[in-house]
């Protein structure tokens, strides 16, 4: 067996070599399409009023307002973070519109991004109602993605990569979550530089 420091060096070299894999074209193309969908969704004007979209949003917002407070225990429970709740609600409205929208993938990608963002703001207490709300919306997203993928005909998407939106999503909830917290050092997209050390 090698000396310890030599073995560490060997491990670092092996690690470096292991990261030198070529990008897989299909994954690169999928990411490129997700990026362009996001750019399109983000930069396109949103001034056109859609009664169906407005109705869906109102219904979901009403449902959230009705359900979330009713799930609060009476004793000293922290309120859900407003931002997270808003983002989950908006994501839910995007998901609701997706099956009938010509821009289903864009809506689902936006919903996935919103959910990922909301996830970073969830409270440590996993019993908080906002956690269930997030998980339910996440499940709904996964289900809707499958439906949309299933319904889209191959001729519509000639290029390979039917999973554009799904791979931007947080992984489906499974098992019982442990009480850890998502990155407190930003999670944000443009936070300050990396730096704290123990």
């Amino acid at each position: 067996m090698s000396e310890p420091h030599t073995k560490v060096q060997e491990a670092l070299d092996a690690w470096r070599r292991a990261t030198d894999r070529q990008p897989r074209p299909e994954a690169q193309e999928r990411a490129r399409r997700a990026l362009l969908a996001s750019v399109g969704a983000y930069s396109s004007p949103r001034t056109i009023f859609s009664p169906r979209r407005a109705l869906a949003f109102v219904l979901i917002a009403a449902m959230v307002l009705f359900l979330v407070p009713s799930q609060f225990p009476t004793k000293n429970h922290t309120l859900p973070p407003t931002l997270a709740t808003n983002e989950i609600s908006l994501a839910a409205s995007y998901i609701a519109q997706a099956p009938t929208s010509p821009h289903a993938q864009q809506l689902l990608t936006s919903a996935a991004t919103l959910l990922a963002k909301a996830h970073q703001q969830l409270p440590q207490d996993h019993s908080a109602p906002v956690w269930k709300q997030w998980e339910d919306t996440q499940k709904e997203l996964v289900t809707t993605e499958r439906e949309v993928e299933h319904e889209s005909s191959p001729s519509v998407s000639a290029s390979p990569s039917p999973t554009t939106a799904s791979s931007t999503t947080p992984k489906p909830v499974e098992g019982s979550p442990s009480p850890s917290r998502t990155s407190s050092d930003g999670g944000g997209d443009a936070g300050s530089g990396g730096g704290q050390d123990n």
Partner: protein
């Protein structure tokens, strides 16, 4: 708007909503960001998913980028990658999804000693803090100089050097634990 041919032009074009600008940035930075994420995840699919999230996130926060110089833009992409990697690691830990699995169907040759050692490093990295992981990936995987890391972090070179030293010491201790368990 003309098709960009350098980082600055691409950022300016992307800020103006040009898909060409984004295409250029994507083609230029995708390999580096992928390599950064592959340093953390054994499954290439996990790394690719995170990279996709990095670019989608970038598309939503480009307006926060104040400079269009290549070092700043590179540092910005890597910073987003760092946060996404941290989120993914914590998410995997929360849902008890193992990060150390070798991908199914992977070439058996990859299971040779080199791949196992590399996986030991990834596992040991999980015990380091975010900054320690970040410095090791930048220095040993991306081959960035101390000065480049310092510039990206906005810290003195000495501070980066000290952090790297502590990170390596911690990594060595963690690897000893991993190897001790295997013997």
């Amino acid at each position: 708007m003309p098709v960009p041919n350098n980082v600055s032009d691409a950022v300016i074009a992307a800020k103006a909503g040009s898909a060409d600008g984004w295409e250029w940035l994507f083609a230029h930075f995708y390999p580096m960001v992928l390599r950064y994420t592959q340093a953390h995840f054994a499954r290439q699919g996990d790394a690719e998913d995170v990279v996709q999230e990095v670019f989608v996130s970038a598309s939503r926060s480009l307006s926060s980028l104040r400079s269009v110089s290549e070092p700043v833009v590179e540092a910005w992409f890597l910073r987003i990658a760092k946060y996404r990697v941290v989120d993914e690691i914590r998410r995997a830990q929360r849902f008890r999804r193992p990060l150390g699995e070798i991908e199914e169907g992977e070439d058996p040759a990859d299971l040779a000693e080199g791949a196992i050692l590399a996986q030991h490093v990834r596992v040991a990295l999980l015990s380091l803090n975010d900054a320690q992981r970040d410095v090791l990936v930048r220095r040993f995987v991306l081959d960035h100089s101390l000065e480049r890391v310092a510039e990206a972090w906005g810290k003195p070179v000495g501070a980066v050097k000290a952090l790297q030293h502590r990170a390596l010491a911690r990594l060595t201790r963690e690897l000893d634990k991993v190897w001790g368990d295997k013997e």
